[in-house]
């Protein structure tokens, strides 16, 4: 298990990062062109209405004061009120977040399920025809935009073959396994391509490594060699990659959720940006940042659990 010091220092690392993240978020939301008041009022509002809106949103205060409020409110969990949704941002996000988390985890699970066996299959037949075919296929997967994969899956598997529902969101956990299958798959295809490439490479490397040879020389059963020595070692880098690709995965949800009509935070983010919903954009960006850094944290912990060399902080 990772040491207390390791965990502590990993947590401490997050603090300055987060302050910086807040500055970034605050600044570029302020830099958005177009008066947010106009954005929220739509075309028909009168100038007087606009002024009232500005007043209400505290947009007339100096930037520094606004930042002060921002940090204070964020820390206390108050992310403001969404212009678009007319409700507290935190509430809106919390409502939508589970969907995206579900979708992301689903996609991660699918990626691993697709990538791991194939990588093992390919690695044990390194440079054979099967290996080349699998790698070629995934190379293609890597070069496909997520939105395009989504579109094709939707049309072929959803509308044409009617194997899966065309977009939308289910009512229960189980129902969603079915409803979110296509969006998860369209994200997973890309992620699993990356994962499979990496996993295969590290498997090949590990299979070739001296300590695996040594394990074989010890006369250990093949099963133990493969699980205890090969897989575990290959996993270390795969876990890092998986952690790092959470960012990608989240990016994927922006497009996928829109295409597949999944009511998650990804789609909300796009809606918020198009509607110039400042508080919502702020809140969402912060949410994304929190999720990603939590994933990094989790990755680091899993990794340090897998790899004792990383445990010293």
């Amino acid at each position: 298990m990772p040491s207390a010091a390791y965990l502590l220092s990993r947590l401490l690392q997050i603090v300055p990062t987060f302050l910086l993240v807040m500055v970034f978020i605050f600044l570029f939301v302020r830099l958005l062109p177009g008066d947010p008041a106009i954005a929220m009022a739509e075309a028909k509002a009168s100038d007087q209405q606009l002024a009232e809106i500005r007043e209400r949103m505290g947009l007339n205060e100096p930037l520094a004061v606004q930042f002060g409020y921002f940090v204070k409110n964020t820390v206390t969990g108050d992310l403001g009120r969404s212009i678009l949704m007319k409700r507290p941002v935190a509430e809106v996000i919390l409502e939508r977040l589970p969907v995206t988390v579900y979708l992301s985890l689903y996609a991660v699970a699918l990626s691993v399920l697709v990538a791991a066996p194939l990588a093992l299959f390919a690695a044990t037949r390194a440079n054979g025809p099967a290996d080349i075919a699998i790698r070629g296929l995934f190379q293609v997967g890597l070069s496909m935009p997520v939105f395009y994969i989504g579109l094709v899956l939707l049309t072929v598997l959803g509308a044409k073959l009617r194997l899966f529902p065309v977009g939308g969101y289910g009512r229960s956990f189980i129902d969603n396994l079915y409803h979110l299958a296509l969006p998860a798959l369209s994200i997973a295809l890309y992620t699993s391509a990356i994962l499979m490439r990496n996993l295969r490479a590290s498997l090949v490397e590990v299979l070739d490594s001296e300590f695996v040879q040594f394990a074989r020389a010890k006369g250990l059963p093949r099963r133990i060699v493969l699980t205890r020595h090969v897989l575990r070692n290959a996993l270390v880098s795969a876990v890092t990659l998986l952690g790092l690709s959470i960012g990608n995965l989240m990016s994927g949800t922006l497009v996928t959720e829109t295409v597949f009509a999944v009511p998650g935070v990804g789609r909300l983010m796009l809606e918020a940006i198009f509607a110039r919903d400042y508080p919502l954009i702020q809140g969402l960006t912060l949410t994304f940042a929190v999720i990603v850094s939590l994933t990094f944290l989790a990755t680091d912990i899993v990794q340090s659990w897998l790899d004792p060399r990383l445990r010293q902080a």
Partner: protein, 501 residues
């Protein structure tokens, strides 16, 4: 007709708060009357029909409106709808903080006496009856509403909505999963009767699914997962019309697409604005082949504009499309205006809008012929709004749909200088402005019609817009769904819809 069953409907965007007073965006506005009935109703051809008020009377001086409420009407929770509820609802609707408060600006007081409700006005207001048929005057139950917590009316409204409101309209809200799904169920106490003599609505339930992506929405319909899908892109209309399983509806709308032309004498940078000359604006209009554009953008589902207002608006005048395609005339007008050696004009379009980009490509090709060099500038919607307000544009694309069944709203928006400088064009025509002001207190319908006719003529002649086209509301339905209506104002009306089994 057949009663019962659930209809599912794919929407392009979700409602946030379906409340008469605080509904702000179309997905909210267009749902309100399903939940809250109004005192008067918009009938066929723009005529007003009785709603919750059986009778209405306008006093001779036009300053008092007396409404007699229908007897025995109940809210969905079974409580009786009383004059107190009406007064409460109208007082709420007058709240100047609400986005629609100014529609009732002429009202000075609302009083109830038994089952009559009296509105006192500052001055005669020809639009007031239409307002009483507009969503923002929908009737909410005072007692249930006042139980809600909230620092102000908006918060109360949100709480009321979230609690699953007691309604006066044909439906009640059963469930709303934000962003994904909303369910309306039949209001058993609704007062209007259907063709079979029993109370409306026919449907037990309407399930809404939010599918923002056009293609996905259609796929969803085609795969039979939903019974209807709104906002079908016009490019798909022909295809879906040919689909034997579907009923492709094009509901007439009050939606117009036009392009405001900056008509100020000088541009924002201080230079002389050639577009200030009406001949140049006319030339641009003549140089635009509207039917080609209608074909390209709306795939022949649209109609050319015939006046400043949508054809479905009361007092609309004008049967011929404005400025038929006549490049020679356009050229002559430009010459007359002294434009020699070409003209550089920038079209501000909405980034990412395929329609705008098609429009631009087409205009560029058309205007080349008369020596106008069209450049494009692509911005997002808030930026476009800002440019419109500050007048820093040559021409930009815009759209409009009426919210109330009265010509005043659109006329004021497009032409009345004092209301946002005639849709930002800076066009300031004294005669037009005076006409508009008089019409706002004109109670004689005939006189009013005359005034509007005149205004429309002036506007057409002056051409502060590039007049483009009107588009219908394109809704595709499964063959089993009948009698669903989307009003010209956009309201989704499920009260008379039914589903054959």
């Amino acid at each position: 007709v057949e009663r019962g069953g659930a209809m599912s409907f794919a929407r392009y965007d979700d409602s946030v708060l379906i409340d008469p007073v605080w509904a702000e965006r179309n997905p909210d506005i267009w749902m309100v009357t399903n939940l809250y009935d109004t005192l008067l109703r918009n009938g066929e051809k723009g005529a007003l029909e009785p709603g919750l008020a059986e009778k209405h009377e306008v006093s001779a001086d036009g300053k008092t409106i007396t409404l007699t409420l229908r007897q025995g009407v109940k809210f969905s929770d079974g409580s009786a709808l009383s004059a107190g509820d009406v007064v409460f609802s109208l007082e709420r609707a007058r709240n100047p903080d609400g986005p629609w408060g100014n529609l009732l600006a002429s009202v000075t007081g609302v009083k109830a006496e038994g089952s009559t409700v009296t509105l006192s006005l500052k001055q005669p207001d020809p639009t007031i009856l239409s307002v009483l048929a507009t969503f923002n005057t929908g009737i909410v139950p005072k007692a249930a509403y006042e139980k809600m917590d909230g620092a102000n009316d908006q918060e109360k409204a949100a709480a009321f909505y979230a609690a699953g409101p007691v309604t006066s309209g044909p439906f009640m809200l059963k469930e709303h999963q934000k962003g994904s799904r909303m369910v309306f169920v039949r209001n058993p106490n609704y007062w209007r009767n259907g063709e079979d003599g029993k109370p409306l609505p026919y449907l037990d339930e309407v399930d809404f699914e939010i599918i923002p992506d056009d293609a996905t929405r259609i796929l969803k319909l085609q795969s039979g997962e939903v019974d209807g899908a709104e906002f079908i892109p016009f490019s798909r209309v022909a295809e879906l019309s040919a689909d034997p399983n579907l009923d492709m509806k094009l509901f007439p709308s009050s939606r117009i697409i036009y392009a405001p032309i900056n008509s100020r004498e000088t541009k924002a940078d201080g230079s002389k604005n050639p577009l200030a000359d009406k001949r140049v604006r006319q030339a641009l209009n003549y140089a635009t082949d509207k039917s080609a554009i209608i074909r390209l953008v709306t795939f022949d589902t649209g109609m050319p504009m015939t006046s400043l207002m949508p054809a479905a608006t009361t007092y609309h005048a004008g049967s011929e499309p404005l400025y038929p395609y006549d490049p020679a005339r356009a050229q002559a007008l430009l010459k007359e205006a002294g434009i020699e050696g070409g003209l550089d004009i920038t079209l501000t379009t909405l980034a990412g809008s395929a329609d705008d980009s098609t429009l631009f490509t087409a205009l560029q090709q058309m205007w080349q012929g008369i020596g106008v060099n069209l450049k494009v500038e692509q911005v997002d919607s808030p930026t476009r709004g800002e440019k419109n307000r500050s007048g820093t544009f040559d021409i930009h694309t815009y759209g409009w749909a009426n919210d109330i069944n009265d010509p005043a709203q659109v006329t004021s928006w497009l032409g009345y200088y004092k209301h946002r400088q005639a849709v930002g064009t800076g066009w300031n025509n004294a005669e037009f402005n005076t006409l508009f002001e008089t019409s706002m207190t004109e109670t004689d319908p005939e006189k009013r019609r005359e005034e509007y006719k005149k205004m429309q003529e002036i506007y057409a002649e002056e051409a502060p817009l590039l007049f483009l086209y009107e588009t219908p509301f394109a809704v595709a339905l499964a063959k089993s769904v009948r009698d669903y209506v989307q009003s010209p104002l956009g309201a989704n009306d499920f009260s008379t819809a039914w589903k054959s089994k």
